[in-house]
Amino acid sequence: MSDSYLQQLGYSLGSERRSIEQAEQAGVLLSTIQALKESGFEQHFICAESETAYQLACNALVDSQIDTAEIDCIIYANCLPLNANHHQNDAFESSRDVKDLMVFPASKLQVEFGMENAFVIGLTQQACTCMLGSIRIANNFITAEENINNILCISADNFPENAYYEQAYNLISDGGAACLVSRKPQGFLILTVKHITNGAQVLASDDETVGSYFSYLHQLISETLLQINKTVADIDWVVPQNTNAKAWSILASLLGIDEQKAWFESLAEVGHVISSDNIINLARLDHSGKINKGDLVLVFMAGFGSNWQCMVVEKV
């Protein structure tokens, strides 16, 4: 079985920075300023009027400094299905031509960045977990097909105009992330990725989502570790998504993991960047100099749908 490695993590954020107070003035919050601050949020980033999810993807790709000439496959993942179409719906409304609903940003990215040898896959049904989903697929491709060496996993989302920038009590930023899954032994060795879906919760409310958060993550993390014959004691770092800081404390207690092992220091600065924030946190952990060769990192994400994904990687 071939090993695959996660590397060259890049990300992008909407170009406008806004404090919680400014967000409240703009009418995009559901919770109070105090409640969000108590959860660890301080500010967020939103796209400027002319900025699109596709531009966020381009910026994340440039930020990663991935050599696009080497890419064999692009896995383009969006949390919000509307961001998987480059044209906005009003184009179809005037044309009545369904082609306007199939202007795929991944195809555009392929040609504009010269990745003509790459084939394209799109993911739109895994909500916030889609970036981890794309890494899982990339990992399996590398294992299964010997001609595939380098896979670009990329995700970007921009909330539509007038949307609340809060989901399940979390402050949201528009943003994207890009990474390379490759046979080149650099970055992080991918040990496993696991995914649970509970379709019955597809219409879950915020409270129902929060209610099932702990039980599903407990199950997911336990089963993920079992897949690789590891226990929580073997884990050196946990990289969660940027959701309420207290949620991690509770989860850590349920799992028996030392709270200090968690790395989500971008929470206050960038908030919950839809499907990209645990890539942001993993990148920053890697840059921090605190992680050592051989350290095991557990990365998890919960999303609507309901989807739950967890990955374990080893620093090389």
Binding site: S15, R17, Q55, N59, V62, Q65, D67, G114, G289
Partner: protein, 285 residues
């Protein structure tokens, strides 16, 4: 990277520059900077962790952080001034028209960066620190000099970008400083993608004309440039303005210290890995 791939990359970068022209208008400039906040990430301050650092009160450390920010932004002004001069002097003599067209955006963006870097320095310190780097002679001309020019730019921008990234994401740093670093990082990512793309393409074009002797000269030159670039981060003027003593001696002592060397090694081996792989940087005889 072949010519066609590089041209595709140039077209995309040109389009991104046209579509995402960021103006510094959105920056929120406070009239005065509060004295009790960090203007530079403490871990990136040149004397961080040294004996002298520990002798300072937190207030003195914050004062030094302001002058380190002035030095960092002054370095950027000088670096970009050099870059604009050097790049514009070759315009429309580059290997392709697309490259010149992209570099027009590159120059425009660098000029814009100088505006906010210089504004910060003049508005809050009423000065830009002078450039103290020695001019280094170039061992090549023509096609080799083109390689060296963009390798020097890539080295400078990569180091600066590492600082930009870290400061932009440091919530302890005052908003205007982190915002300037964030804006700069966003556009510099494109410049770095261009720089690496060009170096890969151009090195491939020159592969038959660079022998071992030539490679050694290139490596010596770029190592010297890297050394001089780093020296400027240890600025006696900034130490003097922050009230430290024996500033020139301090600069030299800290620069030569083991922790400072480790800090530089970590950044340069991470950010300049490709240059090391190609032996354009590295141990030289």
């Amino acid at each position: 990277m072949n010519c066609a791939k590089f041209t595709t990359q140039l077209k995309k970068l040109t389009q991104m520059s046209e579509q995402q022209f960021l103006t510094p208008d959105a920056l929120n400039w406070p009239e005065v900077l509060p004295k009790n906040q960090w203007c530079f990430s403490p871990e990136l301050i040149s004397i961080f962790g040294s004996e002298q650092w520990h002798e300072l009160t937190e207030q003195q450390q914050m004062s030094l952080s302001f002058y380190e920010a002035i030095n960092f932004f002054s370095l950027n002004v000088h670096g970009e001034k050099y870059l604009i001069n050097a790049v514009s002097s070759h315009l429309f003599n580059y290997p392709s028209l697309e490259m010149s067209e992209y570099l027009l955006h590159f120059i425009e963006e660098e000029a814009k960066h100088m505006m906010y870097f210089s504004r910060f320095c003049s508005q809050y310190a009423n000065k830009i620190y002078p450039l103290r780097a020695l001019e280094v002679g170039t061992p090549g001309e023509g096609e080799i000099e083109l390689l060296l020019l963009f390798a020097r730019i890539y080295i400078f921008e990569s180091i600066v970008d590492e600082y930009n990234r870290q400061i932009a994401s440091d919530s302890s740093v005052i908003g205007i400083v982190s915002d300037i670093n964030r804006l700069h990082h966003l556009e510099e990512s494109r410049h770095l993608a261009f720089g690496l793309g060009f170096l890969k393409y151009w090195l491939q074009e020159l592969q038959d004309s660079i022998d071992e002797q030539q490679l050694l000269k290139i490596s010596q030159h770029l190592n010297g440039f890297l050394h001089n670039t780093w020296k400027q981060f240890y600025c006696p003027d900034a130490y003097f303005d922050a009230g430290l003593s024996d500033c020139a001696g301090l600069s030299m002592a800290v620069f030569n210290s083991e922790p400072a060397q480790q800090h530089r090694d970590k950044i340069q081996h991470k950010r300049l890995a490709w240059l090391y792989q190609q032996q354009l940087l590295g141990d030289v005889a």
